[in-house]
């Protein structure tokens, strides 16, 4: 756990980079510090491993004041990843990764073996061990940077804009990798970014800073999107926070309509009767395996000869707009619904078999239910004595 107690950093010119910061970063979680440039987020990060010394206040690492620890020793116990990876150009990949183990006196053989382990962990081909950094792509270099930071198995990992120097596609991959790694390793991660999307994606907790070094709000991404503390946070979160919030709500909250599914061998008459019963304008035609084939409109059924099966009726595509009921979010369900020409999307299980279909009404019901749950939870939280993380802004 990392604790900031009334930490201030004031530069000789009088600029205040960080102003009376109180913040608690729980062990084993990812805390993202986010804000525009000049908000003190990077200064905050660098004070943890004493790259910058605070003007006043204390920073405790598992109860020990970092000011009491010799800086090089402190730093060897804290992983550090920076923007351009900052790899040593004159050392091979394996020796780059082995840096901290070698500094702390491991044998070269043991340190290199550890480096190979880490290359595997961060998804780097073992063949790269003997190459030099300039022979790798930006994304690969950043993986090496992460591996190097993890080499001595430090409990704390500091990441200073780790993914902002790579292109968006590589960035998304690296973010996913971080989530996967963190799922395995449970480090205390402090990550600085100016990208609120990144903060929301990778953070267990997000701390939003305002220029002048003020902490405005610390909360889980979901709560942040649902209940921004003030107009500044609301603006910072962006215009579509209402929709982005849906990423955190599971698609399983939806009450799917199974009555709008119809087998391919059903007769037009029977299908029409089913549609009227269900009050549906469209039915989803499925095959014997419950895989979706396409949509059929009630008007088509009315025009079709009564006893013929649906196999001969031309179907309206849109069955490809599916979402995973078990693993998807309400956002993915909404997205599929918006994309579908029938205004309905198909919920499928992990084998791609149809569970049921959505509609805007059903989405609305699910979102309203989620809001009620959130309000109830909010009330419950308010009744508890304010938890530590909440007391951040004083």
């Amino acid at each position: 756990m990392i604790t900031f107690e009334r930490v201030t950093k004031r530069y000789p010119g009088g600029t205040v980079a960080v102003d009376e910061l109180d913040l608690e970063i729980p062990a084993g979680q990812t805390m993202v510090l986010v804000g525009p440039s000049g908000c003190g987020k990077t200064t905050t990060l660098r004070m943890i491993n004493r790259l910058i010394e605070p003007t006043s206040g204390r920073i405790l690492l598992d109860g020990t004041d970092v000011q009491q620890v010799n800086p090089p020793l402190l730093r060897r116990g804290i992983g550090y990843v920076i923007q351009q990876a900052g790899l040593f150009p004159h050392r091979t990949i394996e020796d780059n990764i082995a840096t901290v183990p070698l500094l702390t006196g491991w044998t070269r053989q043991k340190a290199r073996a550890r480096a190979r382990e880490l290359m595997d962990l961060v998804g780097l081909d073992a063949q790269m061990a003997r190459r030099y950094p300039h022979q790798l792509s930006g994304g690969q270099q950043q993986r090496v940077g992460v591996a190097r930071a993890l080499a001595a198995d430090p409990p704390v990992l500091l990441m200073d804009e780790p993914f902002s120097a790579v292109d968006p596609i590589v960035r998304a991959t690296l973010q996913d990798e971080l989530l996967r790694l963190q799922g395995e390793l449970h480090k205390t991660v402090v990550l600085v970014t100016h990208d609120i999307e990144e903060a929301i994606k990778v953070g267990d907790q997000v701390a939003i800073f305002r220029p002048g070094g003020h902490l405005v709000q610390v909360d889980s991404p979901q709560h942040l999107l649902a209940a921004p503390a003030d107009g500044y946070v609301e603006d910072f979160l962006g215009f579509d926070r209402g929709i982005r919030r849906l990423s955190f709500l599971p698609a399983s909250m939806l009450d799917l309509d199974a009555g709008a599914l119809v087998g391919q061998q059903t007769s037009a008459t029977a299908a029409l009767a089913q549609a009227r019963r269900a009050g549906a304008a469209w039915l989803l035609v499925i095959d014997a395996e419950r895989l979706p084939l396409g949509w059929v409109a009630v008007s088509q059924l009315e025009a079709a000869p009564g006893e013929a099966s649906l196999a001969g009726v031309p179907l309206t595509p849109g069955q490809e707009h599916t979402f995973a009921v078990d693993t998807g979010s309400l956002r993915s369900a909404l997205d599929a619904t918006v994309l579908s020409s029938t205004g309905q999307a198909v919920g499928v299980d992990s084998d791609g078999r149809v569970v049921g279909v959505t509609s805007y009404d059903r989405l609305k019901t699910a979102i309203q239910r989620a809001d009620e749950d959130a309000r109830a939870e909010e009330d419950a939280r308010a009744e508890e004595a304010a938890p530590a993380v909440e007391g951040a802004a004083t």
Binding site: P72, L73, L74, I82, F88
Partner: protein, 231 residues
Amino acid sequence: MSWAINNASMLAHLTGQNAYLALVPVLVGLVVSLPLGVLCVRFGWLYPPVLGLISVLYALPGLALFVVLIAYTGLTDTTVMIPLGVYSLAAIFPSVVDGLRSVPEPVRQAAVAMGFGTWRRLVTVELPIAVPVVIAGLRVSAVSSISLVSVGGLIGIGGLGYLFIDGEQRDFATEIVVGIILIVILSLVTDTVLVLVRRALTPWQRGRGRLNRRADMRADLPILPAGMQMP
């Protein structure tokens, strides 16, 4: 040609003396430049005055220095080597500073954040990365030192420079031509050795993209003394 063969042992001796008179000052220049450069990078304000002082020394004509030095060191090798040492310093010192400054900021920062102490960072990160730039300075310094030694011929200690003075006095052109050829050969050999040393010390620079490789090849072209540059 037959003159050169007949006088082979004298020529070998003069070449050896030339190499010795030229390269010991370069070595001394390097040894002085390293700590001085490190200091000037760490304390930035030191750099302009130190560089200024060295530039002033560099501007002093070699002959004038000889005249002054003879009073103290007499007609010895030292008298020739002191000015050459000063000139070497003037070429090598800025390259040490530039070399250390060529260490990318993220790399330096990463080294600090990984927990390198100051000394260890200097020796295992900053100096190795500075090697290519430092050696570029060494090459310029070594080659110009080799040709400058000839000036010492005026006080009788000039390595191959002796051939110029002797040839001129005897009006014997062959001797002068042989002297020039030997100086060029000595320069080329020394330069090649330095390029090989750099390659051995910087395996990490091999195969750096096509553009870089072209620059690298250009960097490996021999450095010739002033007035002998290839077109």
